[in-house]
Amino acid sequence: MARARTRLAADERAVARAIGWVERFCNHHQLSRAVTDVVCLSLEEAVSNIVEHGYERQPGRLSIELHYDRRALSVVIEDGGKPFDPTQAVTPHADGTLASHREGGFGLLLIKGVMDDVTYQRAGTINRLTLVKHL
């Protein structure tokens, strides 16, 4: 069992720093490229949402915790932004016409699509999003 935690400023560089940190963790533990990519993808989508919608581009903090064992890699992301439950958010299905389709909404579909388990908790003033990828 391995565990790591980092805290980041929720600014425009948060996604790059979060992905770099997770890549190093995955490389160190020799996780496959496929697993590393889907975890980076989910993290990119979740952290972008926190910066853009949770804090509305105002100063804030977020933390990321990774738990890894032979069965799964779990990512726990916490922030103090506006309450937001991505598991309940309505994601527009891209089954309409190109002209009418808005350009947002893909991120949550991707998180739910590539991870095996996605859960949300509101703990006091904290949003806690837990993403699990079975190995």
Binding site: V15, A34, H93, A94, L110
Partner: protein, 112 residues
């Protein structure tokens, strides 16, 4: 992220390589808009060497496709592999923009 173009008859093939994510989507978006507003009405994105795409990247492609459609053109995609193919399918993006396994199949579809 690298974007290169080549003309094949009246189709502009856009070879994208590397990672199309939040960090690269600004510059890539400018280039795709420039291409979509250019002289070619038929644009084919060849994603064979694209390793990674996130929702920020999908928005770039969608913007280009909409611009082309508004200008009576069309954008198609081919040769997506691995994670990129997974993302196109998971997001339902492949129901908005036609995705082909090979360049040859995409060219035939433009001609049809």
């Amino acid at each position: 992220m690298k974007i290169e173009t080549r003309s094949v008859y009246d189709v502009l093939v856009v070879d994208m390589s590397g990672r199309l994510d939040s960090m690269s989507s600004g510059d890539a978006g400018d280039r795709i808009v420039e291409i979509a507003r250019g002289e070619h009405k038929r644009v084919l994105l060849n994603l064979e060497k694209l390793d990674y795409v996130s929702s920020a990247g999908l928005r770039v492609i969608l913007r280009g496709a909409k611009l082309l459609q508004g200008n009576r053109g069309e954008l198609k995609i081919c040769n997506a592999n691995g994670l990129v193919r997974n993302v196109l399918e998971t997001s339902g993006f492949n129901s908005l923009i036609k995705v082909y396994d090979t360049e040859k199949e995409a060219f035939s579809a433009f001609v049809a």
